[in-house]
């Protein structure tokens, strides 16, 4: 494992650096000695069995969960207990959730302009222009005045992506963005994500969509029991898995 890590070359500027990060829920050791470095523009897919801590890990990156030891440096800002740092990181990092978490009492447009107006202090008009720009990009500009409840799951998830993009984040986190969706809607969300990846966005994506991983990822990270077991370029990862756990996992999800 250590040799594999050493072989990985991290090119260019560093976007996220995680060093020796540990986290416990009570007595339960959820994340154990996580080391991960992400370069700017890199697209990383994180996979692993359920309960392996992959969601927890990316939630630590924007401090939705608190880590108890180790360092996380996001975009040059270290995540400590300092509220100002936390706010800074959160406004630079966009996040897309499994259950969309759109604000049901606001229209699509208001969902997208809320944070730019209140966090970035952008004039309303300008925020709306930006929002329309990104809504057009995710191909739902005509739904702007509807409420989230009136949209399909796939549309809602695309709105959630647009909402994050409106903050002009430098990093995007995806927490199982397609697992709450019906099969026919998965594709529209993945298309949007692929488009985003092609524009060079730094992305961390927890997903089981192996097709997506093969298409866009620079690197696949496999986690189990709260630790990173294997990471590799997608081609090698799928064709030539090293660890027994990885082999077992891949056989299970690709088996049928």
């Amino acid at each position: 494992m250590t040799t594999a890590q050493k072989q990985l070359q991290i090119p260019g500027e560093i976007a996220i650096e995680i060093r020796k990060m540990n986290k416990w829920y009570g007595q339960f050791h959820v994340l154990r000695d996580i080391d991960l470095t992400v370069a700017r523009g890199e697209r990383i897919v994180i996979c692993g069995p359920s309960g392996s801590g992959k969601s927890t890990m990316i939630r630590c990156i924007n401090r939705l969960e608190e880590h108890q030891s180790g360092d996380i440096i996001v975009d040059g800002t270290e995540l400590t207990n300092d509220l100002k740092n936390i706010d800074k990181v959160r406004s630079e990092v966009g996040m897309v959730f499994q259950h969309f978490n759109l604000f049901p009492h606001l229209t699509i447009l208001e969902n997208c302009t809320l944070a730019p107006i209140w966090v970035r202090k952008i004039p309303k008009k300008q925020a709306e222009e930006t929002a329309m720009h990104f809504l057009t990009k995710v191909k739902i500009p005509d739904q702007a005045l509807k409420y989230p409840g009136q949209l399909s799951g796939g549309q809602q998830q695309r709105v959630a992506i647009a909402r994050s993009l409106c903050m002009r984040p430098r990093i995007m986190l995806f927490d199982e963005p397609t697992s709450a969706l019906d099969p026919e809607m998965i594709k529209e969300v993945l298309d949007t994500m692929i488009e985003l990846a092609e524009e060079g966005m730094t992305m961390l994506c927890v997903t089981h969509e192996m097709g997506f991983a093969q298409a866009v990822a620079n690197r696949v990270v496999f986690m189990d029991q709260g630790q990173i077991v294997e990471q590799n370029a997608p081609k090698e990862f799928f064709s030539n898995p090293q660890s027994e756990r990885t082999k077992l996992f891949l056989s299970q999800i690709l088996g049928h």
């Binding site: 924007n62 401090r63 939705l64 100002k84 706010d87 959160r90 406004s91 990092v93 966009g94 996040m95 959730f97 259950h99 969309f100 978490n101 759109l102 604000f103 049901p104 009492h105 809320l114 944070a115 209140w118 966090v119 409420y147 989230p148 409840g149 009136q150 909402r163 994050s164 903050m167």
Partner: protein, 613 residues
């Protein structure tokens, strides 16, 4: 398999036919809704019995209603002359309706509460409909109703003209831009207090000026881009905080010396243990003594810690003072509390300075409050007297004990409801807070208020509040009652809102966090709008409960419509012995208002639901 065929094809489609007679029309309805089973038949007949009996006995009474009479005796004569056994004597309502509605408010000033009522609807319009054309219609209706009511009380032409102009202006504004009505809502509290209690017009103007000043200060604090200005601002606020802290700590010094001295010599426990002639009183006395001793011990412990702390400080400070001032340090450095004062002031200064430099929300609000409050305390009285000599825009003052009837119920109800909503939200947030102390304080307050009857709280307002306020403070009984009523309904609202908060999925909080919103921004923009929407039925029923409970103010000597006014009316020699009519009248008005509110909340619930599906 080959010779038997299962093939069958319909040659011609059947047309729909009407159901048999038993399954349609009135017969079906009766069969399904009245006599579907033996038990149902029996129930239907029992219901019919009740309904028939009720109508049969009540109908003659309503039929023989008398509207014009000067006394109950006259009523009875008229009914007897018409050949009825009993009849309703609505003449009492006709003679006394103004007391039921306004109490003893001077009749020539009835236009003032009526105008206030009309403006209340105009002020409610943006809350109910927000940016909708409907609010203009509502203003229009309110205006027409107000004018009609003014006509009914035969108000003077000046009041007529003023009302017409005011409503015309508001209506035009609402038609052009419905959202502008929010200004009416903002101005309403000040105007309404002035209209009802009377006095100088410069009072509400001054209150508004204070608010404008506060808002301006807060705005300048938030929105200035100059770092230098921000630092200067922080410095000023921090200095003010240090000053306030030193005053407060100095005051607490005075309290503690006074307080503990008094407590030591208090005859607090003398009552217990006396006359302990039986087991019961001895047990009671012992329990009470233990309680008092525990309390005293806790306070002493706190005091001891404080004393040790300040003594250490004092020693250091005295040394320091000796270094600076030589052998005779100034008096303030000698006192044990002086150390506390300096330390507290320093700490307050530092904390506030740090927070203020970072444009903290709380500091902004505090600064605004300080500026506005300062204006009200120091500048406003001067201005009122100054303006009153040059331009006395004064209407006749009306004292609180003249206000009664439904006017009083509405004043207390509406004010307490409006005040309790923000308080209830704060308590609900406190109860869900991660901070132990906030939680304990909120839970303690909520459970205490919910554990005692409202009536005891009202008695607290009328009897005890004077003990808890500095000597010689005395303010209006209505205001005291409103404060206690607001605290009461805030505790209930807090529980309702807590339910709404608990019903929100965690994802909403997380989404707010991940977008970088602060706690208060997330609460205001995301959590509260949804939580309040979920809790609308509960909130409205709390409001209905509070409105019904306004009748209890009669127990502290206010003239509520139910007990206060009705008792007055029934004590009149002309109307002695009358009971159904006034109670039905008052009950009907309460029913209309409360039933209307509950139906409105159901409508709102449905509407909000369909909006988002």
């Amino acid at each position: 398999m080959t010779d038997t065929s299962h093939l069958w094809v319909r040659e011609e489609m059947l047309r729909p036919e009407p159901p048999p007679l038993r399954e349609a029309g009135l017969v079906k309805w009766v069969r399904e809704n009245l006599v579907s089973s033996p038990v149902n038949t029996l129930l239907t007949v029992a219901g019919l019995l009740v309904a028939v009996w009720g109508i049969w006995t009540a109908f003659p009474w309503w039929w023989h209603s008398v509207w014009n009479a000067s006394s109950l005796g006259e009523c009875r004569e008229i009914v007897a002359a018409a050949g009825g056994e009993s009849g309703a004597c609505w003449a009492v309502i006709k003679a006394r309706w103004h007391q039921f509605l306004f109490g003893f408010y001077p009749p020539e000033h009835y236009w003032r509460p009526i105008l206030t009522g009309g403006l209340l609807f105009a002020a409610l319009a943006p809350v109910l409909f927000w940016n909708d054309r409907k609010s203009a219609h509502m203003v229009g209706f309110a205006g027409i109703a107000t004018l009609a009511a003014l006509y009914a009380v035969s108000a003077n032409s000046l009041a007529f003209a003023a009302t017409a102009v005011i409503f015309a202006v508001i209506w035009v504004a609402a038609s052009l831009r419905p959202a502008s009505l929010i200004w009416v809502t903002g101005l309403f509290p000040f105007i309404s207090i002035w209209l009802i209690w009377g006095g100088s017009f410069w009072n509400p103007v001054n209150q508004l000026l204070a608010i404008a000043l506060g808002a301006l200060v807060a705005r300048v604090y938030y929105n200035n881009t100059s770092k230098w200005l921000n630092d200067a601002f922080a410095l000023v606020i921090a200095l003010a905080a240090a000053y306030v802290a030193s005053v407060v700590i100095g005051y607490s010094d005075a309290i503690s010396t006074d307080f503990f001295g008094k407590l030591r010599e208090a005859s607090f426990w003398q009552g217990f243990g006396q006359q302990s002639d039986n087991v019961f009183s001895m047990v009671f006395g012992a329990l009470a003594s233990v309680l008092v001793m525990a309390l005293t011990a806790a306070i002493w412990l706190l005091l001891a810690i404080t004393y040790v702390f300040s003594a250490v400080l004092n020693y250091n400070l005295a040394d320091l003072a000796g270094l600076i001032w030589g052998e005779t340090p100034p008096e303030w450095a000698g006192s044990a509390w002086a150390g506390m004062i300096s330390l507290g002031a320093l700490l307050a200064f530092a904390l506030v300075f740090v927070a203020a430099r970072n444009r903290s929300v709380v500091i902004g609000i505090l600064a605004g409050l300080l500026a506005g409050g300062g204006w009200l305390l120091y500048q406003a009285p001067k201005m009122v007297t100054y303006m009153a000599t040059d331009l006395p825009l004064t209407i006749a003052p009306v004292s609180s004990n003249m206000i009664g009837g439904f006017l009083l119920a509405l004043i207390i109800g509406v004010t307490a409801i409006a005040a309790s909503l923000p308080l209830g939200i704060m308590l609900a947030l406190g109860r869900r807070s991660d901070m132990w102390l906030m939680k304990v304080l909120s839970v303690g307050f909520i459970e205490f208020i919910r554990g005692v009857p409202l009536i005891t709280l009202l008695f607290t307002a009328s009897l005890l509040l004077q003990y808890f306020l500095p000597p010689q403070t005395n303010f209006d009984l209505i205001l005291r009652v409103i404060i206690l009523a607001a605290l009461f309904s805030a505790a209930y609202l807090a529980e309702v809102i807590r339910g709404g908060l608990a019903a929100l999925p965690r994802g909403q909080y997380e989404a707010g966090d991940s977008l970088g919103l602060t706690y208060w921004q997330a609460q205001r923009l995301i959590i509260m709008p949804q939580a309040l929407k979920i809790s609308i039925p509960g909130i409205v029923s709390t409001f209905i409960g509070l409105f019904k409970d306004t009748t209890l103010v009669s127990f502290v000597g206010l003239l509520d419509p139910l007990r206060g006014v009705t008792t007055t009316v029934r004590a009149d020699i002309n109307w002695k012995g009358i009971y159904w009519e006034p109670y039905i009248f008052v009950g009907a008005i309460f029913f209309i208002i409360c039933f209307g509110m509950s139906r409105y909340s159901m409508y709102l619930e449905r509407k909000l639901k369909t909006d988002h599906r």
